[in-house]
Symmetry: D3
Subunit: 306 residues, 6 copies
């Protein structure tokens, strides 16, 4: 039944499911469920169901390359399989889904292991917004017994920085919260900046929460290393073809609930940090210059470009 897909798509478009990783997981699970409940009677009908689901899920959010890549990979596994019975095909969806999720989890663990080495005793780290991979990296460093501290921004308008602060404190990491516009005032006390990513492009740029590109600019001016943590599967193949990464514009009420009537708003959810501001991308392949992302993805996940 495609109904379950529609529900997931709705929850994604209404922001009830958020974060590149969570959105991808929800879509994958919906695909698995669909393949279990499908009424298709042959491979073609089964694939048609998957394609319909793909269309529906993809239209739920303007830019979610991780979800897009996940769905593309699962469908490609079905397409190229020799299996013909629905049962077998459904198994392929399931197994390729869990393989994708495992790969994703492995990437996160590798990134945390690699990135935590950049943190030394007495390091002062700055982060922005909330990224589960960055949290993993920091708590890994904490587990390793490193004695460091973290500054995090509050991240207006939705205050995701407070979530980050709570999680770090819970892990026992010394944490200081600042307003977004205080970054330049404290940057000289910072040793390195680490942020997450929502999407990466063929030009080597990174899309992340609004404010990221400003921190990158401030960090560069102060000569502080600015690292982006990103699974390579967040690469958006559409950018190769010249498509602009879409930047979602969210509701003004996020910014000011009872604003005066004639006041206009601009509330972009993300911004773009260009490659020349990025010291290194910490991905499952290691720490690499953003300039080589396209080639690394080509080498490692060639199917993305099919």
């Amino acid at each position: 039944m495609v109904e379950s897909i529609r529900q997931i798509a709705n929850r994604i478009s209404q922001l009830k499911i958020q974060g590149a990783r969570n959105v991808a997981i929800a879509a994958i699970e919906a695909l698995v469920k669909l393949s279990e409940e499908t009424k298709a009677e042959n491979k073609q009908e089964f694939l048609d169901d998957l394609f319909r689901a793909q269309t529906m899920l993809l239209s739920s959010r303007e830019t979610e390359p991780l979800m897009r890549n996940a769905i593309k990979w699962i469908i490609s596994q079905v397409e190229k399989s020799d299996g013909e019975t629905i049962n077998v095909l459904s198994k392929i969806v399931e197994s390729s889904a869990s393989q994708f999720l495992k790969n994703l989890e492995d990437s996160k663990m590798k990134i945390a292991a690699i990135g935590s080495k950049r943190i030394k005793n007495n390091s002062v780290v700055l982060t922005h917004c909330h990224s589960s991979t960055v949290i993993k990296l920091l708590t890994t460093a904490n587990r390793e017994g490193k004695n460091f501290e973290v500054f995090c921004t509050e991240t207006r308008p939705l205050f995701q920085g407070r979530i980050t602060a709570k999680e770090l404190i819970k892990d026992g990491i010394k944490t200081t919260l600042i307003v977004d516009s205080a970054v330049r005032s404290i940057i000289k006390e910072i040793d390195l900046v680490i942020v997450g990513s929502d999407a990466i492009t063929s030009e080597g740029n990174v899309i992340n929460k609004i404010g990221t590109s400003t921190i990158a600019l401030i960090a560069r001016e102060a000569r502080k290393p600015f690292y982006v943590v990103s699974e390579l599967l967040k690469f958006d193949p559409a950018t190769i073809c010249g498509n602009y990464e879409k930047i979602e514009e969210r509701d003004p009420s996020e910014v000011w609930k009872d604003a005066p009537k004639n006041l206009l708003f601009r509330n972009p959810a993300f911004d773009i940090t260009r490659r020349e501001f990025i010291h290194g991308v910490i991905c499952e392949e290691g720490i690499i210059p953003p300039h080589s992302i396209f080639e690394v993805v080509n080498r490692k996940y060639e199917w993305i470009f099919k």
Copy 2:
């Protein structure tokens, strides 16, 4: 009675009176009131009262050069007068106070007249925080029939940008509000940035609301003119002598009221924008490079250095 002075000083230190201009006006009025109610019996006693008031007012706030310069000027007028009777001296306080206030008001009008010429039809202006001189400049341009629009930041943590937005809308100016960290995303649509100032230093730097120096950095990177609007009487003579401009650190509750217990905060109220980021300072003498502020103040208000 020095009691009235103490009350004013308290209200200033508790932020019940805010803004360089308002603080200076309150202090001036307190001095006038003191001189009217004084029980001094001779010039020396009269002066001693003024000095005590000066000490009290100056300790109310770390850095308020406009107030400091106002008090210094009024006292200097008393000191150098030939008058000996309390009545005459009190008159001198009153007249020099109103002269200072008039000069301040004149400066504001001149600045608005000069600065409004920088706004052309279809200009898009960005401002930060709330400055009555900037508002005056913008409404002057509006009066002159120019058709322009303004972007203003919300200005965390105290949302003074909302006050700016309300006042501009009330004047019929097309206004768009953004979160502080969205400035870099909209900067390419901006034609010029205009901000106020709390203090100016001998090196040609400007102290203003936290976030100002970040906007200056963003504006410079995007090659957008960044103008500071400032009465020259905000010059802080202590900076000549090597004193650092003090940056007030305010209460964490401004940032997050019910924060977790172990979370640390940094909440600086102001930051410093260095001269190389400033296109021009719009002051009562005209539009000048910040590099020449010290010499211009020397030429125009030599008494500040006495």
Copy 3:
């Protein structure tokens, strides 16, 4: 008959045939003609004819990597074929020639399709000199119904910008012409710069018409995206081996016909734009950072390095 080759080589060296693409096409056609008319009696003699033609054509112009790569590829196809009869070998020349030309045409169409996506409604594009691929890109965007406008420089000394202007106007695109030195005055009205390329190097640099590197510098200072449009076959493999890209110095009379006798001239035809000034290279593989050109060419056209 090698005579026909000599004629083509002469026409190229006398600038009667111009533009990387036209020069390559002329050379390819000359090879085809040669192979049709050859008097060679065996494979070795046939190859010797081709090598002589290669030497002649390569000496006609200092730097024409596209032509060099075309000739190298056609000859390599002959070399590695099993064919022994002149007839068969001649067919191979013909077929590999048309394959090369088709590939070149395909690349141009792909580039136009990719690049036209970077143009949005109301975009203002700046271009320099005359590039058939850039024209294709712009007219493609025009076909797609996008409402945009173009600024083009006149491109001294030979005024190729006028050709660009004429072609764009003919296609109904709103076009404004400026002198070369007015670029910095109008750059703030520009949304993106798109230029062609004569050659690309292993360091990721681009050789193009004199003036290109100045526009790149101006664009970077004003934070405007600067895109280079280039078929990857313009990669010059000699640059890997440390050879400098040669910059042709043309006749002074191009600059000033009746100049005073003692006046000296410098009239370089091209300049070099370094990779850090280039936002992205739009090639048949997509939009890529110039830093990865060497690896992309390695992956896609490995034979170039043989």
Copy 4:
């Protein structure tokens, strides 16, 4: 008779008189002639004639601060004189006119003497457009026996660089001409750049022939000293009051005579070079940072601000 004034004003507005210095001289001479032929019967009528002439001359050209300052100074001398008879007043016009011209000539000689010291044996100088003060400086260095060479741009659209080239060759100076867009290609061979100026502003910026600001950008990027040669009387007092320096837009036919009908043009005659690109201003007071121009003019020509 004001008719002679009208004629001069027309010739200025039709570009028959060109160059800040020539325009100022023509206006001064017109004033002298007017005062000789006036039919005024008293001081007031005499002054009214002068004011009418001032209005007429000022409207002939958007921005000519040297002419404006010249007229202002001559009229101010009449105003503050005790003389009442037309004869006496007319003499004052004459004497103050020749005093102004003498001062202007002296400034030019001083600037040439100062600036020529910056040229050493084997220096390679780059200049742009045509400036009689720059020519004076270079020929002075030549007289002093220095062995140097000059690159000059052709300066599109009106090729004033050819005039410069001719004058330098005539003086026996080794001279090389390049197209405007070749500056970045030859900049590494240059030791210093010297250009003239049409106007200087209170912010320390310089208005000069289109293309100047591009050369300044190129010079800064290559770390080459960029000097502006300017009489301080080219300071435009209106810029203090916030007025933008007006940039004249000239006729498209200067760029392309028989252009296609629908082609648009932008043909700004001047551009603005900001202070941070200027190594030093060579003026009659010495070599100074452009940042202090306002204060130097204040010290030396206080009457300009009256």
Copy 5:
């Protein structure tokens, strides 16, 4: 006998053997000797001997990627061989050792051949410290009859620049010595900078003698090309995994022998030059952007990552 390994390891750790290349050669020779004298009785024992030697040699110096890669490669050849007898395995060590050394020598010759093309008649080259590959490059250019000159720094604290100077003079190359801090004073006379490298990282950065990164900064500011000469086998695979390149801190007596007792010292032997300062890396694959080093090594020496 592992004793010989220990001796070599000691000589390396006591700096009796210096320079990435010499250290690698010594370690390789020690492995060969070990395999000749081994008392191992089967493949496993043989390998255990090699692993022990590896551990010992690797602990002799914090960072010597060339040595590490050499040992890894030799051992990997043994591991993957079918051979079982000690005699055969010992031969494999010997042959792979000489293969590695030959490859290293070939790389050096290729680099010299490629790099020498960057030197033209009248070029002025700056180098720092002493690198045998840079010397080879310069003497190759000299053999080719190019007429150029070299500036070299003295390279405190150990004055290796004097060794460079002596070798260049011996080859008949015009050479000028300067103190390290005079580089910025003479940079405008320099045409290009060429330095060696001790290690290269996955981010595209280069580790070389202290002072290198300062010269890179100076060169960039003056827009002078800065080339690094490096065999790709100096790539340090540990940097991919997030490890920081270790910077050795040497004895203070190198800086000042009879220093006052309480004086502290910092004497880092190397520094890091980031990729954005490097014009190109001249390696055995050609001249490449440092940004693509990771991918080039992946393509050419995939075994490094195993």
Copy 6:
């Protein structure tokens, strides 16, 4: 007797007297001695003696503006006095000499008082070479009980940094010595840089020991404040007139005593730090932007320009 002058001049030219301040003091004392021993019989003869001494002293060293200004001032006091007898004139020399020296000493104390305020608890200061005013500033901060530390370079070729290190250690200040080329490696630990000055120019540039401009570049890149400490009397009025500040080239043996015969040397003693690298000049008038030096000197020491 002019012989004593000649001796002093010789000692200065042979570097037996070094440092702007010491040289000026020696010259002043020589003038006083001359005026005491003069055989002049009238004012003119007395002045002629002084002029001869001036010529002799000025030729002892290429650039010593402090000495030049000192001599100029003393002579000008004699010239403008009404005194006619040798006795009276000699007294004027003596009194103006001691007045000059007192002013110089006062300036130093003021600079130390102002500059020491820039040093806070836990500050880490970097200095270069040896400057008695910088030492005074640092020991003043130490007297004030501030707990800070200093890094100083060794300052090749003459190791003046060792003198600085010894004096600081003697005062009990924690001090670390580094080689000159290690500055970029430790700059991130530095809070501010403070250096002395040998001369300041009308463009706002500073001449100081070789290596200073490199540290300024490094500091700016790392956004660290770079302060220059300088008495305003080090202003060189000749720079106004276009003269280049002369940079002394010293003996190669300072760099390498037993160098190979054919090795060339460049050994400039000073370099120039341009105004845009200087955060502030700490002088007797306060902390000022270098851009306003010319105007400040004009206001305070107008006689320098006579």
